[in-house]
């Protein structure tokens, strides 16, 4: 049984947020991979762009930063240079600027440092699952997937527990800024001009900025130099520090990225368990934990795409992409490419090798939090599998309205406790 069958007609509008309410349009991606892998995509509300859909092409182009630049934006939407400067993070820079910021926090997010959080994560999972599994039927995104990532980010950043629900809400408003369930300021439906200079065009960005400033002032007053936020404020070896604006944007990035990507990986994994009943048994009895987290994260692909901009002309598959053109690497399509994955629409917890691109692997902007995401996913599913004897869908699931974040925002499940 396949886990989920795409329903698009093969010609979906990739620029429409509404397209993605039905899940990613995988029939369209397959057609593009087969027929037009470097696809000029009309974009009614901005500059048209190239869509790259084959895994091999994504891998080749993502590493070629001399041609495919991040320094002119990473989203489909166009922004003025002024907006770009106001809103950019190190995601929106190229080497060497990108690395100057990244090396300040690379160790804090490295595999061995993150591995030290395993017990903390297990304790959090215990709490979350004990509460959620008290019910037999519940929304798994809300009760389980939404809870773990932000509580964990709070630990890493040294945020007070009482602030975490507020941060979840703001993080949702930032990144799900095209879904009316998560924001009153739906990006493509309201006049959001006054928020143009704010992170993610969102008033939540402004509130988070004030929060981050006050938090750091409190920490400084208390002599607290623990954590990632302190690290990022330290001067580099040439004495350069990041600006206040860059700090604000970095904080918003952590809140947004730490909030919903792992959430939607967990949700997608639980959805897969509902539709491939053998997965629970494998989790309970087979040694799949070295490979399972990456397969769940491949299946989820929470970041549907990232954009680059051509710094020079480039030819591929008979098409000439011109300097200045926008290019989207559709990770979502790459992760279902039959040329890279056997039976890509099945979750195979033992998949090996698994060269998925959910983290933007193969390029310099590979996800900073990937070790944390893998660890959270592993521990959550290990603990879940110990506690339940059965899980099934309890009604249809709902996807987020976003062409950027692929996620199941509502996942009704019914469980039997072990």
């Amino acid at each position: 049984m396949t886990v989920w069958t795409p329903t698009d007609d093969g010609h979906a509008d990739l620029t429409s947020h509404d397209t993605f309410i039905q899940g990613a349009p995988h029939n369209t991606f397959k057609r593009l991979r087969d027929e037009d892998p470097v696809h000029w995509t009309p974009y009614p509300s901005g500059e048209d762009f190239w869509s790259i859909t084959r895994h091999a092409d994504i891998m080749e182009m993502n590493r070629n930063t001399a041609v495919f630049s991040s320094a002119r934006g990473i989203r489909m939407e166009d922004q003025s240079h002024e907006e770009y400067l106001a809103r950019r993070t190190f995601q929106e820079t190229d080497a060497p600027e990108h690395m100057k910021t990244r090396i300040k926090v690379a160790k804090a997010f490295s595999k061995p440092v993150i591995a030290q959080f395993e017990e903390d994560i297990r304790v959090l999972c215990d709490e979350i699952l004990d509460e959620a599994l008290a019910e037999e039927s519940f929304d798994a995104t809300k009760s389980i997937a939404r809870e773990l990532p932000m509580r964990m980010l709070g630990r890493i950043l040294g945020l007070p527990d009482k602030d975490l629900p507020w941060l979840v809400e703001k993080g949702d408003a930032l990144i799900a800024n095209t879904d009316p369930d998560f924001t009153d300021h739906v990006l493509d439906k309201l006049e959001t001009d006054e928020f143009r200079m704010m992170p993610f065009n969102s008033p939540a960005g402004a509130e988070l900025y004030v929060y981050a400033k006050e938090l750091m002032a409190d920490k400084e007053a208390a002599g607290d130099t623990e954590g990632v936020l302190h690290m990022i404020l330290q001067p580099d070896k040439d004495g350069n520090t990041i600006t206040e604006e860059e700090f604000r944007n970095f904080f918003c990035l952590l809140v947004a990225a730490g909030n919903d990507t792992t959430r939607y990986s967990i949700a997608a994994g639980m959805q897969a368990m509902c539709h491939q009943p053998e997965l629970l048994g494998q989790m309970q009895s087979e040694d799949i934990w070295a490979t399972a987290p990456d397969e769940i994260i491949r299946w989820a692909t929470p970041a549907l795409y990232f954009r680059r901009t051509l710094a020079q002309d480039f030819e591929a598959h008979g098409k000439t992409m011109r300097e200045g053109d926008k290019v989207l690497f559709w990770w979502s399509s790459g992760n279902r490419d039959e040329a890279a994955f056997d039976d890509p629409f099945r979750v195979n917890l033992a998949r090996e090798p698994n060269r998925h691109v959910s983290f933007g692997q193969g390029g310099p902007h590979v996800c900073l939090g990937m070790w944390l995401a893998r660890l959270e996913v592993r521990v959550l599913f290990q603990e879940l599998a110990k506690r339940i004897a059965h899980i099934e869908a309890d009604g249809p699931h709902e996807f987020l309205r976003s062409n950027f974040v692929g996620g199941i925002k509502k996942l009704p499940v019914r469980i039997k406790r072990a």
Partner: protein, 104 residues
């Protein structure tokens, strides 16, 4: 040029590597375990960490500041002979190079 990777289990993998190829790409192409290269050789992940065999110490080129910083983020402990293998590029002078792959 010829490169040999010594693996944690005591076995070895040897391969001919074309000039200009970096040792992360070469390792991935030859299925050397534990050399992953998640960032494509852009000094952003530290997953291609290797130890350079003592006989080749000081011969694999200089570390820049970014490599130096990223070597603090490796999974296996950093040693004086640690390098990110994406920063070692095949050349005639390195023919016979021996790299030691850390335990995962």
């Amino acid at each position: 040029m010829k490169v040999t990777w010594k693996l944690p289990d005591g076995s070895e993998i040897s391969a001919d590597v074309a000039e200009g190829t970096n040792m992360m790409e070469a390792a991935v192409a030859n299925n050397v375990p534990n050399v992953i290269g998640e960032c494509g050789g852009n000094l952003a992940c530290a997953t291609c960490h290797v130890y350079v065999d003592d006989a080749w110490a000081g011969k694999t080129g200089e570390q820049d500041d970014f490599e130096d910083a990223m070597l603090d983020a490796t999974e296996a402990p950093r040693e004086d002979r640690s390098r990110l293998s994406c920063q070692i590029v095949a050349s005639d002078g390195l023919d016979g190079l021996v790299l030691i792959v850390p335990e995962a």
